[in-house]
């Protein structure tokens, strides 16, 4: 593999770190930080799209950091799933960076918004690309620390309260993750995920392996906001600035889902009947509790927050069913969900800027005053509920089809009912915010911190993407298909990371 390809795998981590460091250097210059925000994320998007195409061509791209060969050094691995996630990070990064031009005022910039923003992106990309389990923990922490600071930027009371819950539960999750890593290292003597997968097959004490698997499940379940660990999410996601909310809603919980996908396909695939049965129940309950929680809410962003939870259920369902088609559906769902959910949060921010409230009761009349915005809301909202021909329809269709194939009738029923209830929530927002007349006494447009112009391009762009995924789903489906193939055929990943010679010598030692 050429030096260029090596660098390409590391660039999605290096670029945001560099942009963040430069933003720090230009601490006093708001204009320079904004430029770095937009062009840094644009460069990230270009690089990650390039990485995706290269990965498509070469199956796996592996970089041994500092030329310390795996399993001794840390590796960065780009397979289809990781590359897809990195591209999505680039898309959401660029969208929120542009949106921030209008949403983030001087005060928040002074608190260090842009450096933290880049640090978060670096942490997220690092978590996607790393092939080392302890390194994954480190990237999680990088991401968490940046998200903590972004969450409390501004220092309002609600933010403090939300942050305490967010910080505590995420730290507990990290500690469980660390505990699980410690036990896994004691059992296998290695940290490289591919090497762990090889060595774990030889471990005789399968009971202990299952215990470790459960620790990982709980830890990543908290990060992914799965049932019954999701309580930190609706308590905190509606408190920060909207650009921050959108970034969190798009990327953070999906890092947890990604980690579940990685660990429960590559490492813990010995006792699928047991572990994935539990995942199946988690998935169903996550879908149900999330959507029911949303039905009870009357605050724009809180409704959306609860819908993140219910959508996480679909993604975990894809993993839990554990057939090739189900994994395809799960990956497709992740792609669709990140774009749609971030867009809905961005729209909620724009309605706030126009009407001065996030409460549904105080909003109204936007269809009359801003029909374009109403249309732009309909696209992601209907896509979230799964109406054809938008992206959400195909995502749900693939997963439900996979459920029917393995005759998981209960899961299929839950998925369909939750789709219907999602539509109910979206129609509720539509009725309250856009359709009904403006209630008297509310609807004062607040003095904007910045001109609102830059809020529009990201919303339009993401809505177009939602439509495009629906209308031209074939290449997206192919990408998801290839990533599912790679996830289920773990020998490809293992050989790409460790090299065929090493795997052979290990097998000989076993004989």
């Amino acid at each position: 593999m050429s030096a260029y390809m090596n660098a390409l795998v590391a660039l999605p981590v290096i670029l945001p770190l560099l942009a963040g460091a430069l933003s720090l250097a230009f601490w006093r210059s708001s204009a320079a930080q904004k430029l770095l925000g937009v062009f840094g994320t644009l460069a990230l998007l270009v690089v990650s799209v390039h990485l995706l195409f290269e990965t498509w061509e070469h199956d796996h791209i592996v970089m041994h950091m500092g030329s310390w060969h795996a399993p001794f050094g840390i590796v960065l691995v780009s397979d289809m799933l990781a590359a897809i996630m990195v591209v999505l990070t680039g898309i959401i990064g660029l969208a929120t960076a542009v949106y921030s031009l209008s949403d983030i005022g001087t005060r928040h910039e002074r608190f260090g918004y842009y450096p933290l923003f880049h640090l978060l992106l670096a942490g997220v990309n690092g978590a996607f690309l790393t092939g080392d389990i302890f390194n994954l923990y480190v990237w999680f922490e990088v991401m968490l620390v940046a998200s903590f600071a972004l969450l409390i930027l501004g220092g309002e009371r609600a933010q403090m309260e939300g942050a305490i819950k967010y910080v505590t539960l995420n730290l507990v999750s990290s500690m469980l993750f660390l505990t699980a890593i410690g036990l896994l290292y004691g059992l296998t003597g290695t940290l490289n995920m591919a090497d762990i997968a090889v060595r774990l097959a030889e471990v005789e004490d399968t009971g202990l392996v299952t215990v470790i698997a459960m620790l990982f499940m709980v830890s990543f379940g908290i990060k992914a906001a799965a049932f019954p660990f999701f309580f930190w999410l609706p308590a905190s996601y509606h408190t920060p600035k909207v650009a921050v909310s959108a970034l969190f809603a798009g990327m953070l919980t999906k890092v947890g889902v990604y980690a579940l996908y990685r660990v429960f396909t590559l490492i813990f695939n010995q006792d699928v009947d047991y572990t994935h049965e539990i995942l199946l129940w988690i998935a169903m309950l996550t879908m149900l509790t999330g959507v029911l929680g949303a039905a009870a809410q009357f605050e724009f962003r809180r409704i959306l927050s609860f819908h993140i939870i219910s959508q996480i259920g679909y993604m975990i369902l894809g993993l839990a069913l554990f057939t090739p088609l189900a994994i395809v559906g799960g990956v497709f769902y992740i792609m669709h969900h990140i774009i749609v959910k971030a867009n809905l949060f961005l729209i909620s921010g724009l309605t706030y800027q126009l009407k001065g409230s996030h409460e549904l009761r105080e909003l109204g009349g936007l269809y009359r005053s801003h029909p374009m915005l109403a249309v732009l809301f309909m696209v992601p909202a209907l896509s979230l509920a799964g109406l054809p021909p938008l992206s959400g329809f195909f995502a749900k269709f693939i997963i439900i089809r996979a459920g029917i194939e393995v005759e998981a009738w209960l899961a299929v029923a839950v998925a369909l009912v939750v789709g219907l209830l999602t539509l109910y929530s979206m129609v509720k927002i539509w009725n309250e915010v856009f359709w009904k007349a403006q209630p008297a006494g509310f609807g004062q447009t607040p003095t904007p911190v910045r001109p609102l112009f830059w809020m529009w391009p990201p919303i339009v762009g993401l809505a177009l993407m939602t439509v495009m995924i629906g209308l031209y789903g074939q290449p997206i489906f192919e990408m998801a298909e290839l990533s599912a193939e790679q996830l289920l055929d773990t020998s490809r990943y293992i050989e790409a990371v460790l090299g065929a010679d090493y795997v052979e010598s290990l097998q000989e030692m076993r004989r």
């Binding site: 309002e156 403090m160 309260e161 305490i164 819950k165 910080v167 290292y185 004691g186 308590a235």
Partner: protein, 115 residues
């Protein structure tokens, strides 16, 4: 020795969880500290306790002689301690600010965002 360590670690986890279930946010942070220390000790113990055998390689050799302590586990703990320290510093500032804003050291008073 492993038995003693296991008991200590178990006690630390239990104490940490107990502290985190209290209403006071100061005790919450103390619980987080105990939790991270418990996890670090667990890595230390799980990697195998070896006494008086530093992993030193003599000139000319390629591997250390006999059984030696595992340096990797200690490197992991070192990393985890540094990260834990940074996060703890943030948590302390956070509860201080929360105390200033809310005016109480009590989780039950922090329900504004839950309704």
């Amino acid at each position: 020795m492993e038995i003693v360590m296991a008991l200590v670690i178990g006690f630390l986890y239990a104490a940490a969880l107990y502290m985190m279930l209290r209403r006071s946010i100061v005790k919450l942070v103390i619980g987080l500290v105990l939790l991270s220390n418990a996890a670090n000790l667990l890595i230390f113990t799980a990697a195998g306790l070896v006494r008086g055998a530093p992993p030193l390689i003599y000139p000319g050799d390629l591997v250390p002689p006999g059984v030696s302590a595992d340096p990797l586990a200690q490197a992991l703990i070192l990393t985890a301690i540094v990260i834990g320290f940074g996060v703890l510093a943030f948590a302390v500032v956070l509860i201080h600010r929360a105390y200033e804003v809310v005016g109480a050291d009590d989780m039950d008073k922090m329900k504004d965002t839950d309704t």
